[in-house]
């Protein structure tokens, strides 16, 4: 008898079961954890209160990203709360023997950028982080998901978590992305299709020709937004692109261990006859640039679209929600998206702050000027990316166009440091969430790709990047 056909998710799950707790719940072994300053303090305090130690310090990695300012990095952090939160992480990591990329480290950056960049994230692993965008790491064929602070403490203490098994969803992207269209547009279209809560309880595997052709940066962008469809887990099967990306990175296996690891990684892709509980298909070749118009990531339209009429809503609660979104966003029904003027342009976040994103945006802005009324910011995802971009002269292109060139961090994605919009201001943003208040109380966020944000910054309003030179 042959073994039952399994999905990538099933294989990773089965390989990490420590104990079956019944009722679909297993105690799962967690291979790696990434820590940042915001979600970890209470976990370390809890650990100390119970007199426990970190079970595997080498299985943890800490970096500062959320609260850290994106300028004047050589000076002490001005905000006393941010300063003490960052110091707390630095102290906790040092006290427990955990590798730390502190505020002055050349490897510092956003958790979901730094993990892959350093080769800490690898196929076949289970990996968690106290941050909902941990699905980003699924791009490597890693079973990665966001957890709360209590779960961080549990992993520090036991290296395990009790988890309910998810169902399997496949999202097949056929065709080839057109000019001016990126993984971000596919991610946003997928969220629109599945809906804000539609992926809840599922692990999503992205597959198909459009995915196989993607770079690792593009796959990370795609997996990153999985949580916006309600699913904690988004994955891509590891392949030659994955292995080529990882080889030689600081934490990647070396010598004979590399060959052993790759041999195992090659067994991970879903079996051809594996069954998925739900299958969706998107023609990547037919996609237009995507833009959100409301205060939910699934309120998304092609850039050629117009804001909806609440009267066309499918249900009464949906109508309420549309009206609320329009009011919050300061928009009226049936407005052409391209008529919407912006105050801010933000290129950054764990969705779109990698070198390839910055290159794509720089190509659009080269030799042009940011519109007079727009404040434009580029915040690289890591200090490493910042240096690489500077070596290529990208910083110069951005600066000459009128963008500010900042230090690495989460910045305007979450507005926890001093980067923040004023109430009523509107941004074109490469981040992943357009929730009410996400970029500051009363701030209005339109999500789009780096190329689209770059184009909007120049035009001063939302614009179809395919129509500019």
């Amino acid at each position: 008898m042959s073994a039952p056909a399994k999905t990538l998710y099933d294989k990773l799950w089965d390989d990490h079961v420590v104990a079956d707790e019944g009722d679909g719940v297993c105690l799962l072994y967690i291979d790696r954890q990434i820590l940042h300053e915001v979600s970890s303090p209470v976990a370390f305090a809890g650990l100390e209160a119970r007199g426990a130690s970190v079970r595997r310090p080498k299985a943890q990695l800490a970096t500062v990203d959320h609260a850290i300012p994106t300028k004047d990095r050589d000076k002490p952090v001005a905000d006393p709360l941010a300063r003490s939160q960052i110091a707390l992480l630095e102290n906790n990591a040092t006290a427990h023997g955990i590798t730390l990329y502190g505020s002055r480290s050349p490897r510092q950056g956003i958790v979901h950028v730094v993990g892959p960049e350093q080769g800490f994230t690898q196929p076949g692993m289970t990996l968690v982080c106290g941050d909902s965008h941990t699905a980003t790491h699924g791009a490597f064929g890693t079973l990665a998901f966001g957890v709360g602070t209590s779960e961080i403490e549990c992993v520090l203490a036991t290296q395990t978590l009790r988890q309910s098994r998810s169902r399997n969803m496949a999202l097949r992207a056929t065709g080839t992305l057109g000019r001016g269209i990126s993984a971000k547009d596919l991610a946003m279209a997928a969220v629109g299709r599945i809906g804000a809560g539609g992926g809840s309880g599922y692990a999503i595997e992205y597959m198909g020709a459009a995915i196989s052709a993607m770079s690792m940066a593009a796959r990370m962008t795609l997996c990153n937004m999985t949580i916006e469809a309600g699913s904690r887990i988004g994955m891509v099967a590891p392949d030659e692109t994955t292995f080529a990306f990882l080889e030689g990175r600081p934490f990647a296996p070396k010598g004979p261990l590399w060959d052993e690891a790759v041999a195992y990684w090659r067994t991970l892709p879903s079996d051809t006859r594996a069954r998925f509980d739900r299958v969706l298909e998107i023609d990547a070749g037919a996609l237009a640039p995507q833009v959100t118009w409301g205060a939910r990531p699934d309120l998304v339209l092609p850039v050629t679209g117009r804001t909806p009429h609440p009267d066309n809503a499918a249900s009464a609660p949906e109508r309420e929600s549309l009206l609320k979104s329009l009011a919050y966003m300061g928009l009226t029904p049936d407005t052409a998206l391209q008529d919407i003027s912006i105050d801010y342009a933000f290129i950054g976040s764990c969705t779109n702050s990698r070198l390839e994103d910055l290159r794509a945006a720089a190509e659009i802005v080269a030799g042009k000027r940011v519109a007079k009324h727009v404040t434009a910011l580029v915040v690289p995802g890591s200090s490493t990316i910042k240096r690489q971009a500077e070596a290529e002269g990208l910083d110069l292109i951005f600066r000459q166009a009128g963008f500010e060139w900042r230090d690495a961090g989460c910045s305007l994605c979450v507005a926890m440091n001093n980067d923040r919009l004023a109430p009523g201001q509107r941004s074109a943003s490469t981040s992943n969430r357009n929730f009410e208040g996400r970029q500051g109380p009363g701030a209005r966020t339109h999500l789009m790709s780096p190329m689209m944000v770059a184009a909007a910054a120049i035009a001063g309003h939302i614009v179809d990047v395919r129509e500019i030179g």
Partner: protein, 205 residues
């Protein structure tokens, strides 16, 4: 952890879908490094005017009828978005012990159980009925032991919670202590086997 067996309380209606954790706990208060005393920041933008002090009269939790409600009845996908456990800590500090909704963000749902809060999933129809009752000021009886919500007129809505989560909440068990005590040997055995099978995962140790 404070056990949850059953509570009887008035319920605050928040009949909206997709109330995300940024709404429940705005990001700028995430700089705080303790989990106590966070109730004052719960729903901050919804509760207060721009001055951060004046209460908005239209927000249910500000209305005399719902002040001190231990139950919230909300729409689908409650607690979606950011993984911040601060959202749960803030609700708990506000005195909320139970959220009833047609669905929840997965991470929020699991965070609740670590903090003595019970998230109850009901059908959209049941939720609409409970919203009407909550708005009328009716008290609800949420009983985890029997996994049912009882209404003032004797109506019963059954719900279900995973076996181990229910046990832990009923008894106020500390999950980390439970895992260490009952699974310590299995974890060590798993690590031994994994070290043999996938030794690159232990190369630095």
């Amino acid at each position: 952890m404070e056990p949850f067996v059953s509570i009887a309380s008035i319920a605050a209606p928040l009949p909206e879908r997709d109330i995300d954790t940024d709404i429940i706990f705005p990001a700028r208060y995430l700089l705080l490094t303790s989990k106590t005393g966070l109730g004052r920041y719960a729903f901050f933008e919804r509760r207060y005017e721009a001055d951060g002090k004046t209460e908005k009269a239209d927000f249910p939790l500000n209305q005399p009828a719902f002040r001190g409600a231990q139950i919230i009845v909300s729409g689908s996908n409650f607690g979606c978005g950011s993984s911040r456990e601060h959202a749960v800590w803030a609700l708990a500090d506000l005195g909320v012990r139970c959220v009833i909704a047609d669905s929840f963000g997965d991470i929020f749902y699991s965070n609740c159980f670590k903090n003595g809060l019970l998230p109850v999933m009901v059908t959209p129809g049941q939720r609409a009925d409970l919203t009407t009752r909550a708005s009328a000021g009716e008290s609800l009886d949420v009983d985890l032991e029997h996994q049912e919500i009882r209404t003032a007129d004797g109506g019963v809505i059954a719900f279900r919670v995973d076996g181990w989560r229910r046990e832990a909440l009923l008894n106020g068990w500390d999950e980390i202590a439970t895992i260490s005590q009952t699974r310590g040997q299995s974890i060590a055995a798993f690590e031994d086997a994994q070290r043999r099978r996938s030794s690159w995962l232990y190369a630095d140790e």
